[in-house]
Amino acid sequence: MSQVHVTAKINGDTTEYLCEADETLLDVLRNRLGLTGAKEGCGTGDCGACSVTLDGRLVCSCLVLGAEANGRDVRTIEGMAHGETLHPLQRKFLEHAALQCGICTPGFLVAAKALLDKNPDPTETEIRYWLAGNLCRCTGYDKIVRAVQDAAAEMRKG
């Protein structure tokens, strides 16, 4: 099987890799590029633990082929903080203890950021529906929703 040569922007950096034609973007990120923030929970698009953005659009990286990313802009959890400075969502998740085991957290953060980029002032219902594609088996969802609300409020103040 011949490998596919891909050039993609990943978190702003032009990145080249070779991957198998049937390899997912999630496996490319984790196994070839060392970006292990995105997790494989289900591999079928139900859990959202592998959430990334592709050309600004929130997607499950387990349902994208690595080859499809050629010429595209991919953003992962690794690109969310600026150096040592956490994104407000990341800070608020810590403050609200909105995680326990942490497996779902990168997906929740990427999905929540995609929501706030589109809608800086979502209602609680909008947050819950938006995050319906992210499953957490530890905390229940309440602290996660509070953390997103709090981060949104802080970000609106600028």
Partner: protein, 286 residues
């Protein structure tokens, strides 16, 4: 497996037609990749149609809209023109999976995956949507209800690709609606789905209607008698009763853990009635 990204529909068709092994079209991939990764299919060729410009666009056409086969659900939902003209189709598309899935999944993929429970299909059938198909012998148009025959099976020939879906112009006082039943609030497969599209005259009498049901047969059903129950009425209680009875009568559902046969038959009538009521409110305002 070979992965190809043709730049035109003609080259996509040629790739599919010439392939001797198992060939698949990749649009959003939210069904295809699950089957690929799960080992249910072993493609020799996957043709990604997302690099074909004409298939990535929503274009105005004759007062309606042509939706390219590679347009993701999220993009359709952001299109104010389509939302206004065909609110039922858009609300059905926005029920498919999660926001992540909607970032990729396409209406044509939902159609060609040929699940009888596909959410956007009853809405498209009710809307009278037309699929434009391109294949080795040229282009043809087909009503969407003639695409799927049974779970996973379509009438498309080897090398044929659905290029786009046409949602036509509407007369005044027209609207549509889609409802589905699931045991949860989000992220589930329809136990029953109902799409209704109506046109009223100036006096509020229904002069045209289409009713379609999902997840109650081996494919999505266009239910003529249910539409006939509405035509000539003002969608009063008696007409809605007839609609519900006709919808239930058309069902031949499976009996499984997500819904018994009896339940699906009953709920099909209930949802058809409620969807018709929503379409009526919308039509009065349009």
């Amino acid at each position: 497996m070979r992965y190809e990204t043709p730049g035109s529909i003609e080259s996509a068709v040629a790739l599919l037609a010439q392939e001797k092994g198992r060939a698949y079209v990749l649009a959003g991939g939210t069904d295809l990749l699950v089957r690929l990764r799960g080992g249910y299919i072993e493609p020799d060729l996957v043709v990604d149609v997302k690099r074909i410009d004409s298939m990535r666009k929503i274009t105005a056409e004759g007062g309606g809209f042509r939706i390219g086969a590679a347009v993701p659900a999220a993009e359709l939902g952001e299109h104010p023109g389509v939302r206004k003209l065909w609110p039922g189709v858009v609300e059905a598309v926005e029920l498919i999976g999660s926001k992540q899935v909607q970032g990729r999944a396409t209406m044509v993929g939902n159609l060609c995956n040929a699940s009888p429970a596909a959410d956007s299909v009853p809405a498209m059938v009710a809307a009278g949507a037309i699929a434009t198909i391109v294949g080795p012998s040229g282009k043809r148009n087909l009503p969407v209800e003639e695409i799927s025959t049974s779970p996973g099976k379509t009438t498309l020939a080897k090398g044929e690709i659905v290029e786009s879906i046409l949602l036509s112009a509407r007369p005044p006082h027209s609207a549509d609606a889609y409802l589905r039943f699931i045991p949860r609030t989000e992220m589930d497969i329809a136990v029953v789905g109902a799409g209704v599209s109506i046109t009223l005259d100036d006096k509020g009498v229904c002069k045209a209607a289409r009713v379609a049901l999902g997840a109650v047969a081996e494919r999505v059903l266009l239910v003529g008698p249910a539409a006939d129950a509405l035509i000539g009425s003002k969608l009063d209680a008696a007409a809605l009763d007839k609609l519900a009875a006709a919808a239930s009568a058309a069902c031949r559902p499976i009996d499984d853990k997500r819904g018994t046969k009896e339940f699906r038959i009953k709920v099909a009538g209930v949802l058809a009635r409620r969807a018709a009521t929503i379409a009526l409110e919308r039509a009065r305002k349009s």
